[in-house]
Structure formats: C-alpha cells, structure tokens
C-alpha cells in the first residue's frame, strides 16, 4: 500500500472533479484540452523550480511512498501533481463562477494586493537568507502585481475567495504529503531553507506557493478558454 500513497493523493484530488465534469450543467469535459494546455504552461516554470530545489536539497521526496519512476530527479507523482491539483482548483473556480455571482469579492482586489505586497515584502526582507521563503515571496509578489497592475485582471478577489474555499482540500493534500496522518512525510524540507512555521505539518510557504500557482492557473486557463472555447 505504501508505494501507492502519493499516486492515490493525486487520484483522489482529481476523481470527484473529473466525474462531476461530465454533469450536463457543468460540461467541464469540453474544456479538458484547454485545461491541459494552460496547466502545462504553468507547470513548466514550477517543475523547473521543483527540479532545482530538489537537486539542492531544499526539499526531497521519500520514494518509499512512490511507485519508483523518477524523471529528472522528481517522482512521476510529483510531475502529475502539477496537473492534478490545479485541475481541482480550476474546476472549482469554474463551477463557482458558473453558478454564483462572486463579483462582490472583487471589491477587495486592491486591498488584497496591497496587504499581500506589504506582508510578503517585509517577510522577504527579513528572511532573505531562506531560499524557499524568498523565492515564494518573489514569485507571489510578481504574480499579484502583474495580474493587478499590468494585466488588470478583475477577478483577483473572486479567485482569492475560491482559494479560501479550497483550503480544506489544501490541508488534506499538503497535510498528508508533509506527514499528517501517515507515519512520515512524503516531502521533506531542509529546516535552513524555510521559516519553520508549520500549519499542523504544512510549511506556511506552501500556502503562499499554492496561491501563486492557483492564480497563474486561473490566468492561463481564462486566456486559453477565450481563444479555444469562445463564449457564443
């Protein structure tokens, strides 16, 4: 059972959303190709980041929890992670957007960006010597500022609200990966490279990293959808 741990995490993350995609009120199955394309665009830089950090020992994987296939230093399951997790995220965002009017959350756009810029900048300045903290701060700052000031996306508040709704899922997936429930973590972190603040077992950086990954996936998905599946 142990070698199936990580693949099962990926599987359970995807399965409910995947089946629900075929519901005639949702029809997300028509957007699978669009999703694969946009997720790949986002996955490339994140996988490069992952390969780099794994090779430096910022984090590493306990291969006893994996099937054993390793590509470029990352277990196959880790590669799939960049498709499975965003799938659940983008699917949730898409459904909430379809069925609810969440525009009220966009009144918080500048407030969210402002608060994040201040908080992240101060954290980055104080802990510039911890590479996971620093890089997460930089990526999230650039992502938020680009979306708000350059791309002028109006959905930042709505997306942030969706991310909060996804928190139970985030805690389940990242919790197991970092050693909640199971005996030891699947993903281990070098204590010198991050703050050391953990939510249960999850490094606080993971939540911020997940946020920027989520925002970028929404950004690319909405662009891809506009061109591939234009609204009638």
């Amino acid at each position: 059972m142990m070698p199936y741990t990580y693949i099962l995490i990926n599987f359970f993350t995807v399965v409910i959303c995947f089946l629900a995609s075929f519901d005639r009120r949702i029809k997300f199955n028509k957007l699978f190709g669009t999703y694969l394309l946009s997720a790949t665009v986002v996955a490339i830089p994140f996988i490069i980041w992952d390969i780099w950090f794994s090779s430096m020992g910022v984090w590493w994987f306990d291969t006893r929890y994996t099937l054993g296939l390793v590509i470029a230093g990352l277990p196959l399951e880790e590669w799939l992670f960049f498709y499975c997790i965003p799938f659940a995220c983008v699917f949730t965002y898409y459904c909430l957007d379809q069925f609810f009017n969440l525009a009220w959350a966009n009144a918080f756009n500048t407030l969210i960006v402002f608060t994040a810029v201040i908080f992240l900048s101060v954290a980055g300045l104080l802990y510039y010597d911890r590479i996971y903290t620093l890089l997460t701060v930089i990526v999230t700052l650039v992502t938020l500022c680009y979306l708000h000031f350059v791309a002028r996306r109006e959905w930042i508040g709505q997306a942030t609200f969706t991310y909060l709704i996804l928190m139970p899922g985030f805690f389940a997936v990242n919790g197991i990966l970092t050693g909640s429930i199971i005996q030891s973590p699947v993903v281990n972190y070098n204590p010198a490279d991050f703050l050391g603040v953990r939510m249960i077992t999850i490094p606080v950086e993971d939540a911020v990293y997940g946020y920027s990954q989520f925002l970028l996936n929404i950004y690319c998905f909405t662009i891809a959808k506009k061109y591939i599946n234009p609204e009638p």
Binding site: N106, T110, L111, F114, T115, S121, V150
Partner: protein, 150 residues
Amino acid sequence: MNLLIVLLVFVSMEGATWLIHRYIMHGFLWVLHRDHHDHSNEGSLERNDLFFVIFAAPAIALLYRGVQQNFSNLFFIGLGISLYGMAYFFVHDIFIHQRAKIFTKTKNPYLLAIRRAHKQHHKHLGKEKGECFGFLWVPMTYFKMYFNKK
C-alpha cells in the same frame, strides 16, 4: 501607547493624502493624474497605482526596520500607514470602480457624503480650481447634506 501611535498615524494619513493629492498630483505629477480627470487617454497608470506605491513603500520600510528593532515605534507607524492604505483601497474600489454591486443602494450618510464629494472633485477637468481632495474625510458641507434630517 502603541495603539495610540497606530490611530494617530491613521488619522494623519488622511491629511498626508490630502496634501499629496492637492499639491503633488494636482502639482508636478499632474501629468500622471491628468487622464484620471479628463480621460484624455487610456493611460495604464491610474492615480490609484501611484497612491499604492506612496503608501506601500514607506509602510514596508517602517515595518521592516520596526521588526528589526524589536517592534519599535517605527513598526506601529508602519502599521498605521498600512491600515490606512487598506481602508483607502477598499473604499476606493467599492466606490470608484464599483467593482462590486454592494453599497450601490446604500443609505449610509457617511458613504453618500464621500461619494458626493468625490464626484464634486471630478467636476473639474483641469489641474486648477480643485476641491474636495480628501478621501475618507471630506468638507463638512457634504456630511451636512446627508446627516441632517430633511
């Protein structure tokens, strides 16, 4: 004491914003602020973006130094600026961009007064002859308009 610093800074920020708006944006940085008034071009930089930098940069610097000095007064000054910035942007996004259809039918006299004053500020398309440069606090006239029983 620390709470007092935060409150004092928050209140003074309204004054600072008024000064910046009155003398800088309607002064030597008018070039950046102009299209906000006359919509002469679709400039990518909004007045809001300028305020963002003006509020964020000192707040970050003060908070950072303040934490380094074991949460000295600088930290709480930075906190006051941050909180004012948050209030400012929240109100701005609701009213100016009407991004959310909340408060559009508000009967709240304070909100109506600042909305009315902001409209008044925009009645002037040029750099000169401005009025109502404040944001969270506007001239008494506007408060009287809505707070007095009809």
